[in-house]
């Protein structure tokens, strides 16, 4: 391509990472984290697309359904940034490929993020902090808060960078048909995971309408006022 490439600078990527802190801010029952996802992508979209039509299309593209563990959204954001960058530079990356990457990664990564952060790291740090705090020691809350946020931010930034580099590598290798291969794989993967998620999170029959059926925490705390009936799903 003759024209100069639009690149996302480190500053742009930092802006996206910072905004992804607010990923769940507009969490809603219809498309879950979509608003926060779009909000996170805005600095990149602003940089990459200049016409009103392109910008509108990009914004709409990133308002589609999205839901994962809020921290593992970062590597997905990284890959998506790389794909958008190539698209803005004229490479053929269609909407389905971008959705495929997002959806294909979100389910399995949520399956990693939930046990690692919610069921391992937080109980560990929480128990450490709580045991100090129960003795009235101010260090308890401080250690918990500081350690958690350092780990969280480091994880989010480095995995986003990792995703961005991995995504760029895929799209650089144009001649080898690598991009085509990965996007086909992504849409297959995406549809497969969607089928799975719909069964797990939506399916009204033969159980009831329950988005809650995979929630271990609710169940273990015996909150049956939400009518959690048969608990068979694991994470």
């Amino acid at each position: 391509m003759a024209e100069s490439r639009v690149k996302l600078s480190k500053k742009d990527r930092l802006a996206v990472a910072w905004r992804s802190t607010f990923l769940q801010g507009s969490w809603n029952y219809e498309r879950m984290q979509n608003g926060g996802w779009c909000f996170s992508m805005i600095p990149a979209i602003k940089k990459l697309y200049k016409t009103k039509e392109d910008r509108a299309a990009a914004l709409k593209r990133h308002l589609e359904f999205f839901n994962t563990h809020p921290y593992v959204a970062s590597p997905i954001l990284g890959v998506t940034l790389a794909l958008e960058e190539d698209r803005a530079n004229g490479t053929e990356v269609d909407d389905a490929a971008i959705q495929g990457v997002k959806v294909g990664m979100m389910g399995p990564l949520a399956g990693v993020g939930d046990p690692v952060f919610w069921f391992t790291l937080r109980p560990m740090l929480g128990a450490l902090g709580a045991s100090l705090a129960m003795g009235g020691n101010i260090l308890g809350p401080i250690i918990f808060f500081v350690a958690w946020n350092i780990i969280r931010w480091a994880f989010m930034w480095y995995t986003q960078e990792f995703g961005y580099k991995a995504g760029s590598k895929i799209t650089d290798d144009m001649s080898g048909g690598m991009l085509q291969y990965v996007t086909s794989l992504a849409s297959i993967m995406g549809m497969f995971v969607l089928g799975g998620l719909i069964e797990r999170w939506v399916l009204p029959l033969p159980r009831k309408f329950r988005p809650l059926n995979s929630n271990k925490a609710l169940i273990s705390n015996g909150i049956n006022c939400l009518r959690v009936q048969k608990v068979s799903n694991k994470l």
């Binding site: 769940q24 399956g111 003795g135 609710l218 068979s232």
Partner: protein, 269 residues
Amino acid sequence: MSAISMILVVLVAFLAGMGGILDEFQFHQPLVACTLIGLVTGNLEAGIILGGSLQMIALGWANIGAAVAPDAALAAVASAIILVQGGQGVKGVGPAIAIAIPLAVAGLFLTMLARTIAVPIVHFMDAAAEEGNFRKIEVWQIIGIAMQGLRIAIPAAALLVIPSSAVRGFLESMPAWLNEGMTIGGGMVVAVGYAMVINMMATREVWPFFAIGFVIAAVSDLTLIALGALGVSFGLIYLELKKNAGNGGNNGGSSNTGDPLGDILNDYE
């Protein structure tokens, strides 16, 4: 409690409410929220001890998928306010927790309400996207976050002026049909979100994978990671087979879509 303390308590509650949905900074964890309320009301030590005790109970509470755990933010803020109002210091920790947990469960209603209100918010974002208006999307996102802050700040303010039993009574007085209706409605409307993604991704080629995923997910012992591994494997196998078929057959070379199956299908049409 002085007016300044009250304002600060509501402010902490607002932070905790935002933290509860974002799940990033952890302001909603009892360890942090109770300590902060203790700090701003001059009951630092009791606040820390309360935070530690409640944290132990809340260790396993987490938001998974579309579900939400008992509201840690409300439990933390409410118990701290009750503790401070009680004026018993460290001795009040036990009773404060005992009152706060049922309140946090009743408060799940507020979580559902907030997440339902967020549906129209993202529709406003859709409209803003249509015009390519970044500013409006950002504003709506911030409104969404602020609404989640109010989710805890309003009950906290109420607890400061009226007894906790009245607050709990109010939360529990929500008719069952409304509560259940939102649960069911939430479960249904998420299907719309999924359908929109499918619309964008589905081609004749990938539909079978959707069906396979749907069926296999019914094996509830499989984790999401297992589903992911299966999906990748199916995809790799399929693409490999497709490549071989393409090489073996006669690739006319007239089209370079790189999608032999698509070419074949196009030829039939």
